[in-house]
Amino acid sequence: HHALAGRFLTETLNTSPYTYEVAPVLVLMEEQVLSKLRELVGWSSGDGIFAPGGSMSNMLAMNVARFQRFPESRSRGNWDLPRLGLFASQESHYSILKGAALLGIGTDNVHLVRTDERWVGKMIPEELEKEIQRVKGSEPLFVCATSGTTVLGTFDPLDAIADICARHGLWLHVDAAWGGSFLGMPFSPQGLPKLCCFPPTRADSVTWNPHKLLMVGLQCSAFLLRDSSGLLQRCHGVGASYLFQRDKFYDVSLDTGDKSPQCGRRADGLKLWILWKAVGTRGLGQRVEYLLEQVKRREGFQLVTEPEFINLCFWFIPPSLRGQESSPEFWDKLGKVAPAIKEKMIRRGSMMVGYQPHGSRVNFFRQIITNPAVTRQDLDFFLDEIQELGWDL
């Protein structure tokens, strides 16, 4: 509700936070919020900007990494650079591929690293090392580790990955769009492996979307950068003289808009700031914890994997298919169950939950609870409803 009030306010103020003169409050607020987020990551200084979505934040990271290694590529372009190598896990978000295409790097040069079968969905550090060695003909540049993958909600082992990046001089970007909000938690929840709560302090850059778990409202995605030497400004700034005049009567270092590849931009920081003021860091952390505990109550549905975060992935096996796991058409038939149940629930309007195929696994449900208004009864209803809708399939 606080964030909603903040969003109404943002709409009514209707402005773009590129300069202090046109949006004094919003510019200061954005800086404050970014600073706080960096603090939670574990950095005492740094840089950053709000972007229109995690996809964009990931792309900013890619661009800054490229610029840092090859500063002249900003003006000369990529055509005379060696082929670059980007690495991300098989479970990474698809924006890495889209980013590679957009930036002129090429999707073929995104090397997807195998993930663990046991701790399903985590990048295997040894495989990352192998991939880097394998593409020695091109120039490895950038590793994207994911803290909270989209489907399974797993966290890549950041420490091990950071070691590899340090050894090879690669840029480490952590896509914590989904899992970043873990960082607000004041303590490590019981029963969860310590690994996944690892703050991405060793990263060079981090994506964090408060519009996901913190429910701040679309869009709110922070691109955080460890560097505080003005790399972001040098990478993106062009100093347009009609907007970023040097002879203004106030300190123009506050005109932060040139750090972004965008010109006009929404003031996404206000809603997060109001929410944070109202609830406090601890309040935000507690919301996340509550949701986690809800999910740990397994109900006998077949889990795809033990959840590490709050993505609960499972199959519903209707009575007609139970006991037939060994038959050859089992998986084929099971794959048709989720879409059928989904259609029924939408037509009925009783609830909505996503499904997808994933790797070699047929369609399964992905339950995610981000709304603090959800109760245990809602979860009971959720399971009952699936059972009811899927009973006669």
């Binding site: 409050v25 590849p261 006009g264």
Partner: protein, 530 residues
């Protein structure tokens, strides 16, 4: 499902505002009273948010927003800005985000402070940027979308907004003059330009999507020297390189010179580079100039180049039958960027990229076909899941506010706005010509009125470097004074060898003729002693 139970208030209060103090006591009470379970130290049942308190907050915040922003929006006696130096403002706002939350009243006070010290872009005397004013229909639409908080990637998750976006794109395409086409709404004209650049590149050489640019011939694109700086940023972002944007000379009215474009294309060919795109600008940022689209289209056709028209600012002239001739030839473009949030007051952000191609080029260029979002086995026609055309994943329903405005005002209502804004600009120009001390830089064809103000002390001075140097300092001082007074806001900039001049932009329907007079009077007043 509502969870109204007062026995929860103790627990909610403790969690919501004072996380540590009363939890121990309340836990026991609640476990006994309700059918709750304790898992890993957390009580499970009942929501963690107090919806009633939340709803009250939203209502009260809306009241403040109505009183302090919406109702004062067209009041010229209110200040445009409440200037504070940054260090002072930081203190006033109490920006720090602490471990614990603050009270309901404090939050409402913070809202008030945010409003007080923010620039009132709705104010009739805010002329600083290429957006201004307030449209009430757009505002209502935006409140709706904020409350619903949707993301426009698939039909299942945002059916209404997706269909609305489709309808709006179709309508905009009609005004461009294409029979059919494609398009998408983006977070900004800069992003639209980026899309167009990438699309043109993909058309030129589809393998670049997979292989990247490494080892390919040097791609080159052309844009006028008056073009928006997003062309440079896009070229750099896309790996093309800012050096490979060839800027074409403009004439004394700020328009691209077609013969120069031809020359540059020839030059690029001779160099052995690979020209692929021309970006013409319909409504340049500073001067408001329109490139000659027909002649440029001829050159593009001749050389097989993609023609993108950046009509972010000037595109809205298409809605006016009187002024659409400014964009004559736009139907020959391959892509167009058009931002209704500028001249049409649709609310930031509202930016469309329109594409003539109807063969799914946009989708082919951008899609990644993520299986968790764009499943092919859905129970409805999945061609409606248009989100994969975008480089974004989550996306805001920016078309909706434009749609609602259009429904309310009709094409004629929108046309009236554009006509009126340009008429006001014309009025201002005539007044400037009459007044001593004001010197028009060029005869505008759109809503940008660019002029110098020469204070009395400089009027007798000879034209020479000293004169220009002194004149250069005038605009910044006047700007500082107007902001500290809060009477109005107007932009200035140096531009291509010309010293600082004012750029007046007329947009909002709340602006009156008196405001134009006031503008000139106020400048005179503020510069009296210069």
């Amino acid at each position: 499902m509502k969870h109204e139970d007062s026995s929860w208030s103790c627990y909610q209060l403790s969690l919501y505002q004072h996380p540590t103090s009363r939890v121990g006591v309340c836990k026991q009470e609640i476990l006994q009273k309700k059918n709750a379970v304790l898992v890993d130290g957390v009580i499970l049942n009942g929501p963690i948010m107090d919806s009633k308190a939340g709803e009250k907050l939203v209502e009260e915040a809306c009241k403040i927003i109505m009183e302090e922003v919406v109702q004062k929006a067209d009041d010229v006696t209110e200040k445009v800005c409440e200037w504070q130096a940054p260090e002072k403002l930081k203190q006033i706002l109490d920006l720090e985000m602490r471990d614990t939350g603050e009270s309901h009243q404090k939050i409402l006070q913070l809202c008030r402070d945010v409003i007080k010290y923010s620039v009132k872009t709705n104010h009739p005397r805010f002329f600083n940027q290429l957006y201004a004013g307030i449209d009430y229909y757009s505002l209502v639409a935006r409140f709706i979308t904020e409350a619903l908080n949707p993301s426009v990637y698939t039909y299942e998750v945002s059916p209404v907004f997706l269909l609305v976006e489709e309808a709006v794109i179709k309508k905009m395409i009609e005004f461009i003059g294409w029979e059919e086409g494609d398009g998408i709404f983006n977070p900004g004209g800069s992003v639209s330009n980026m899309y167009a650049m990438n699309l043109a590149r993909y058309k030129f050489c589809p393998e670049i999507k997979e292989k990247g640019l490494s080892g390919l011939p040097r791609l080159v694109l052309f844009a006028s020297e008056e073009c928006h700086y997003s062309m440079k940023k896009a070229a750099s972002f896309l790996g093309i390189g800012t050096e490979n944007v060839y800027f074409i000379k403009t004439d004394e009215r700020g328009k691209m010179i077609p013969e120069e474009l031809e020359k540059q294309v020839q030059r690029a060919r001779k160099e052995g580079s690979a020209p692929f795109l021309v970006c013409a600008t319909a409504g340049t940022t500073v001067l408001g100039a329109f490139d000659p689209l027909d002649k440029i289209a001829d050159i593009c056709e001749k050389h097989g180049l993609w023609l993108h028209v950046d009509a972010s600012w000037g595109g809205s002239a298409l809605i006016s039958r009187k002024h659409r001739r400014l964009l004559h030839g736009i139907h020959r473009a391959d892509s167009v960027a058009w931002n209704p949030h500028k001249m049409l007051l649709a609310g930031i952000q509202c930016c469309a990229l329109l594409v003539k191609d109807n063969s799914g080029l946009l989708k082919k260029c951008y899609s990644a076909e993520a299986a968790y979002l764009f499943q092919q086995d859905k129970f409805y026609d999945v061609s409606y899941d248009t989100g994969d055309k975008s480089i974004q994943c989550s996306r805001r329903p920016d078309a909706f506010k434009f749609w609602l405005m259009w429904k309310a005002l009709g094409t004629t209502g929108l046309e009236e706005r554009v006509n009126r804004a340009l008429a006001l600009a014309r009025y201002l120009v005539e007044e400037i010509k009459k007044r001593e001390g004001f010197q028009l830089i060029l005869e505008p064809e759109y809503a940008n009125v660019c002029f110098w103000y020469i204070p009395p002390s400089l009027r007798k001075m000879e034209d020479g470097p000293e004169f220009w140097q002194k004149l250069h300092q005038v605009a910044p001082i006047i700007k500082e004074r107007m902001m500290k007074k809060g009477s109005m806001m107007l932009g200035y900039q140096p531009h291509w060898g010309k010293v600082n001049f004012f750029r007046q932009v007329v947009i909002s329907p709340q602006v009156s003729r008196e405001d134009m007079d006031f503008l000139l009077d106020e400048i005179e007043l503020l510069a009296k002693d210069l």
